[in-house]
């Protein structure tokens, strides 16, 4: 009896291992197939992305884009005058200006007086800064003014050369080809 039971037990173990192996084998095969398929798809997708990146680079060539902008839009190149810095943007006015009655306390009055005193002392500086901020700067050399006066009459040639020149004369403008200056 004991032997029968032991034999039965080991037979059961053998059957169990056989079944497990069978199941494991087909599971592994299925998983490997799935894995290979995914890898193939990844490779294919990467190849397609690579080709698309190459095409993207070709279609984004500046020469092609310039032609498209010219034919499809009415955009123009950025002019130097259009570039500003943050400091050029004026401060935003206070939202409650003119809407709310401001009640001044004694501290506010004292602070206001202090600010007024400060502003008087820096007024000159402010004026000079505001002058600088204006687009056209005044000549600040007497010698230059004198030499300007000494040139009493401009020739026609000089007039035609200066015609059309704007404040952006630092940089040669490609718009006005006629009025080229001497080197």
């Amino acid at each position: 009896m004991k032997k029968i039971i032991i034999n039965a037990f080991f037979l059961f173990i053998a059957l169990l291992s056989g079944v497990s192996l069978f199941v494991l084998k087909y599971q592994v095969k299925a998983e490997e197939r799935h894995l290979h398929q995914i890898h193939r798809e990844i490779l294919q997708n990467k190849r397609e992305i690579h080709m698309l990146e190459a095409e993207w680079a070709y279609f984004n060539s500046p020469a092609r884009l310039k032609e498209l902008v010219k034919t499809q839009t009415n955009w123009a190149m950025i002019e130097p005058e259009q570039l500003v810095t943050l400091t050029d943007i004026p401060m935003r006015p206070r939202e409650d200006e003119g809407l709310v009655e401001v009640i001044e306390t004694e501290d506010d009055k004292l602070n206001k007086e202090k600010e007024q005193k400060k502003s008087k002392s820096t007024q000159k500086e402010f004026l000079s800064v505001s002058k600088k901020m204006s687009v056209k700067a005044k000549p600040n050399l007497d010698s230059l003014a004198q030499s300007a006066k000494s040139v009493s009459q401009k020739s026609d040639e000089t007039k035609s050369r200066l015609k059309g020149h704007s404040q952006a004369d630092y940089v040669w403008s490609n718009k006005d080809k006629k009025g080229r200056k001497d080197p």
């Binding site: 497990s20 599971q27 890898h39 130097p80 040139v151 952006a168 940089v171 001497d182």
Partner: protein, 583 residues
């Protein structure tokens, strides 16, 4: 339960007692009993061992297959997940692709499998499908006594489809790879080329062969800036009917090259012709030229940095200088004493020579050495030139005089723009690099003092802007620079009427960020240039046009008029007074 003791059976008198194996065992003699015992023991031992192993294996199998199914991790086999190209991409500083590899198919044949009676027909059919290969070439390959021969590398998908429709079993298609340059002519000289097996043969493709096999290569070049420079240069070369031109844009603070164009150029996607030899020449790195008056910048900087001259000094430019048999004069000279800034403003040979002779050839030679003018540039490109300069230890006076206004010394355009960058950026020389952040961590060499650099910036500004009225000095880019015109050399002699014109500039001069160099080869005299072909009429307007377009793109905002020191104002006043123009 399994190990329950057997019940003892009670036997009545006369009952038959069944003989058990133990009874039979007891009947045996001692020797036989001993042998049986041994055998039983051995069998039992082996059984136990097998049973234990079997139990272990079964338990593990059960664990793997049933219990840990979801937690199972596969050991991946050798599966490629990366794209199987041998060569990586070359990118510009913003990540745009300049060179890439695309998968293709190579058509090959096994000639031994082709019957001799079929060969002519096969060659004819293939020639119809492959326009680049002739019937004769295909037939030659089919007649060879070999197992493998390429018919055409990198066939297009259309050709591949047509070949498949032919249905010849002896034709094979193997995976190939083709190097493609999406930007066409734009970077042809810099990127270089690869051979049929995708090994670099020129340019950056050759210089970074090993890097490109492992990773992408990011350059310092900017696609948009390169396009602007090339387009403007092409238009102006055509306008001035020049033989060629070049344009370089460089970051003065890092040494990075943003653009480098050499015209004429070629399309690296197309096969080369024997007539394309000139187009392959990269003027920016391979050419060594005399730049003429541009070298007056270095002559003046030498005088200032070595304490030989001051910005307020004055030198006579009215009398010609006789050195040996040679008489040196100015072209359209001022014929008066000139202040040091005026020597640059009016590009006076006489003033420059006097400065050079005052300094002496030793100081001059040592100063030029600081800018690396005597050695090839330590750049990665294989195409780089040796400079030409007087090799003797002692320079004659005439040599020193010639070099002061840019003759007698030939350097590459890249040498020149690197040196000018050092003049304007506070005096620090940085080796030019084509790689993004290529100079990071590299040492910088101070070649002139910051004070000298400051003076040079003001003087260069004066060269460009001395004629503009102060009230017209509004918001703009403070550009400073210098022009230079040098006669071309043919058969060892200077040719009158043919010149190479150069304009080198930096902006914004108040705090320089970028330097620009433009050179035109043999620009013609035009009616609109009043029959002049000097640099001020062609190279300078070209350079200013380029600056006007790239400055907004590079985020350089216009600024207020740049205040000039007293010595500059004095020099400008004197020039205006003497010339009485523009006012």
């Amino acid at each position: 339960m399994f190990f329950k003791r057997k019940k003892e059976v009670f036997y009545y008198v006369g009952m038959e007692v069944p003989q058990t194996s133990m009874d039979r065992y007891k009947c045996l003699d001692a020797t036989t009993r001993g042998v049986l015992e041994k055998a039983r023991g051995r069998i039992t031992f082996v059984m136990v061992v097998f049973a234990v192993c079997f139990l272990i294996i079964t338990a593990r199998l059960f664990q793997l297959s049933v219990m840990n199914y979801h937690a199972r991790q596969f050991i991946p086999s050798v599966l490629k997940t990366d794209v199987d190209f041998t060569r990586y991409n070359i990118l510009d500083r913003n990540g745009m692709i300049l060179a890439t590899s695309v998968p293709t198919k190579d058509l090959s044949v096994n000639p031994k499998k082709v019957k001799s009676s079929e060969r002519l027909n096969v060659a004819r059919e293939l020639a119809k499908v492959l326009p680049d290969v002739t019937e004769k070439e295909i037939l030659e390959k089919l007649n060879e006594n070999t197992n493998f021969r390429y018919i055409k590398r990198n066939i297009t998908p259309t050709e591949q489809n047509a070949i498949n429709w032919l249905g010849y079993y002896f034709l094979q298609e193997t995976d190939g790879e083709k190097r493609v340059y999406p930007q066409g002519n734009l970077f042809s000289h810099l990127l270089g080329r690869v051979d049929i097996d995708n090994h670099g043969t020129a340019g950056l493709e050759k210089a970074y062969e090993k890097t490109l096999l492992q990773q992408n290569l990011t350059l310092s070049l900017d696609l948009s800036v390169q396009e602007i420079v090339r387009k403007t240069l092409s238009e102006e070369v055509k306008h001035f009917k020049a033989d060629g031109g070049l344009g370089i844009v460089m970051d003065v603070n890092t040494g990075e090259i943003l653009a480098s164009v050499s015209l004429p150029d070629y399309n690296p996607n197309l096969p080369l012709d024997s007539k394309d030899k000139d187009k392959l020449f990269n003027k920016a790195t391979l050419g060594a030229y005399e730049f003429g008056s541009v070298f007056k910048l270095f002559n003046t900087a030498m005088g200032l940095d070595m304490g030989v001259i001051k910005p307020t000094d004055s030198y006579d430019a009215s009398q010609a200088i006789q050195i040996g048999r040679k008489k040196l004069t100015d072209w359209r000279g001022q014929n008066r004493p000139l202040l040091v800034p005026e020597i640059l403003i009016h590009s006076s040979n006489l003033g420059s020579v006097r400065i050079a002779l005052k300094a002496g050839y030793q100081k001059q030679r040592e100063f030029l050495k600081r800018f690396g003018f005597y050695e090839p540039l330590p750049i990665s490109l294989p195409e780089r030139t040796r400079t030409q300069y007087p090799r003797s230890n002692k320079w004659a006076e005439i040599t020193s005089a010639n070099i002061s206004f840019g003759y007698g010394i030939s350097v590459s355009p890249l040498h020149l723009i690197s040196a000018v960058s050092a003049l304007v950026n506070g005096g620090y020389y940085r080796v030019p690099t084509f790689l993004k952040e290529g100079n990071k961590g590299q040492p910088e060499y101070q070649v002139i003092s910051e004070k000298t650099s400051d003076i040079m910036r003001h003087m260069m500004w004066g060269v460009i802007n001395w004629r503009i009225k102060p009230k017209d000095l509004g918001y703009g880019y403070a550009v400073g620079g210098k022009t230079g015109t040098a006669n071309l050399i043919q058969n060892g002699k200077y040719v009158e009427g043919k010149s190479r014109t150069t304009f080198v500039a930096a902006f914004p001069m108040s705090d320089p960020k970028y330097a620009v160099l433009v050179t035109l080869e043999n620009p013609k005299k035009l009616k609109e240039t009043f029959n002049f072909n000097t640099a001020g009429w062609n190279a300078k307007p070209t350079g200013l046009k380029i600056i006007e377009q790239i400055a907004p793109y590079l985020g350089i905002a216009p600024e207020e008029p740049w205040a000039q020191p007293a010595y500059m104002q004095r020099a400008i006043d004197a020039s205006l007074q003497a010339n009485k123009r523009g006012w």
